[in-house]
């Protein structure tokens, strides 16, 4: 077992962490994370517009269009918000002006859209490409814009302001040349040549999005995240860096279907993992915490008490480092197998339509049954599934926990003997 952990440490961890610390991916991660408050609050309006109680739903129906507006202008424009933040963070990582990076990224992204003309209303920009579905386009355009910014700066292709010009003014002129490159370049490609950048990029990443929604696409992140946590590395943040854009596209498709009153298409946006797999935190450690509460070992019992409330809120670092689960061969099997088992079960349960597929993003620190209920737009069967999943992992942890408890009891007895000697 030690060999196995050594192998992880030598091969999986460096590759995964290096990937997650790659400059562009890091900017994408930080940029997308900065939009999450908008997604959470925005998609809450979706629940209000379509409340889970039929009588209530009937009552708000006439106002649904109006209630949905905050949702449409936050979630519905998610890629636009993210594009600005990605540009900002990427520019900052090069020690360039963040705001210039953000503004240039946004311009490059918006130029991939073509406004429509309405005779009575003037120009209108279609929102379709600016929501989660356009996320990959936003990422590509933000990277393009900031790389141009960096290139011109490195080649000293900047307009130097004389001494005494205020810093902020001088900085805004630094973005002049890059803007004069980016804007015509995208315009020529999109509007003169007529190359549909949005469609091309979206179709390029389509296989990735589709793979993310299969059972394999669910189990791969589950296994990698668990393996990383087993060596004490923050698996979600590492894997999320790469997978979150895919999860957001899946979420966006679900949310669009929900807003249109159609059946939800995708199983695997992030809330799937959050509420049905990572119950009590990664590794579904809630099962272990419940068992520790009544442990005969004083250490494990006090650990159980100290980690119960954080566990309810899905924070389990205290379990991972305190028990510890990290590099613990006795607890490794259920730590890996539990999430794989309940992820598979949840996948098929949703595939069969027994529980609504998740489409709402809710803050991850809510207790899992509540989170699952809200994430599925108020499906009570989601609560039942979460409870079944908790029972499964608890049963699975039981024999391994017992073995570890015996070891702890022996050590604790040994420590007392040492002291009385």
């Amino acid at each position: 077992m030690d060999k196995f952990f050594q192998l992880l440490d030598r091969y999986l961890i460096p590759v995964m962490t290096r990937m997650s610390e790659q400059r562009h991916l890091r900017a994408v991660r930080d940029g997308i994370i900065s939009t999450i408050p908008l997604i959470i609050v925005g998609s809450f309006f979706l629940i209000i517009a379509f409340p889970p109680i039929p009588a209530l739903a009937e009552a708000v129906k006439p106002y649904a269009g109006k209630i949905l507006l905050p949702f449409r202008l936050t979630m519905g424009l998610m890629a636009l918000y993210a594009c600005h933040s990605i540009g900002y963070y990427l520019a900052r990582s090069y020690k360039l002006d963040g705001v210039s990076g953000g503004v240039l990224a946004m311009a490059a992204f918006l130029l991939t859209s073509v406004p429509l003309t309405f005779e009575d209303k003037g120009l209108a920009l279609s929102m379709e490409g600016l929501g989660g579905g356009g996320m990959f386009v936003a990422i590509v355009m933000a990277i393009f814009a900031v790389e141009v910014l960096r290139f011109t700066k490195e080649r000293k292709l900047i307009i130097k302001m004389p001494e005494g010009v205020p810093d902020s003014v001088a900085r805004s002129f630094e973005a002049l040349i890059p803007a004069a490159v980016i804007i015509p370049a995208v315009w020529v490609l999109r509007d003169v040549v007529g190359f549909d950048i949005q469609r091309f990029v979206t179709e390029l990443f389509q296989p990735l999005v589709m793979a993310g929604n299969t059972l394999g696409g669910i189990l791969a992140p589950v296994i990698i995240i668990t393996l990383l946590w087993a060596t004490g590395i923050h698996g979600d943040s590492v894997v999320g860096t790469v997978a979150r854009p895919v999860w957001l596209v899946l979420l966006d498709q679900n949310i669009a279907a929900a807003a249109a009153g159609q059946p939800i298409p995708n199983i695997a946006p992030e809330p799937f993992f959050q509420w049905f797999v990572w119950i009590g935190g990664s590794g579904a450690t809630i099962g272990l915490v419940l068992l520790m509460l009544r442990s005969k070992s004083p250490y494990l019992r006090s650990m159980g008490r100290a980690t119960f409330l954080p566990g309810v809120c899905n924070i389990n670092e205290p379990v991972i480092f305190g028990v510890p689960v990290m590099l613990n061969p006795l607890l490794f099997v259920p730590f890996l197998l539990g999430p794989v088992l309940i992820a598979t079960l949840t996948y098929f349960t949703m595939q069969l339509g027994l529980v609504t597929k998740p489409y709402i993003l809710v803050p991850w620190t809510l207790p899992a049954p509540i989170g699952a209920y809200l994430a599925t737009g108020g499906d009570w069967r989601a609560i039942v599934l979460v409870i079944v999943n908790i029972i499964i992992v608890t049963v699975l942890y039981y024999p391994f926990f017992q073995a570890y408890e015996r070891k702890m009891l022996r050590e604790e007895a040994g420590a007392i003997q040492e002291e009385t000697k």
């Binding site: 610390e21 004490g232 590395i233 670092e317 991972i320």
Partner: protein, 101 residues
């Protein structure tokens, strides 16, 4: 002494902050401890800290944190895994005392 704890989102380190504070209280040490998420580090460093402690689960980002702290000359250290728990206060305080004398 001012101690800044960094983890991914500032959630789990809040639990360790409590553990450090209660242990410091027992030992009669004056300690101001605060937990933050990785994204806030650069801003926080401007406000005067004696030491930055990095949670074990984000140890792969240590270089990035060190670079950020180098500008203000604040020492950065890893929290040993066994200290990163509600019962790990003593371990972390020993670590702090090793760095800041």
């Amino acid at each position: 002494m001012n101690v800044l704890l960094v983890c991914s989102g500032g959630m789990s380190s809040a639990i360790v902050v409590k553990a450090i504070q209660s242990e410091a209280g027992k030992k009669g040490l004056a300690m101001n401890v605060k937990s933050i998420g990785a994204g806030e580090l650069r801003e926080q460093l401007k406000t005067g800290w004696d030491v930055v402690l990095v949670a074990p689960q984000v140890r792969h980002r240590l270089a990035e944190f060190q670079e950020a702290a180098a500008e203000s000359g604040v020492p950065v250290a890893l929290i040993p895994p066994q200290g990163y728990s509600p019962l790990g206060g003593a371990v972390v305080i020993a670590e702090i005392q090793k760095i800041v004398k």
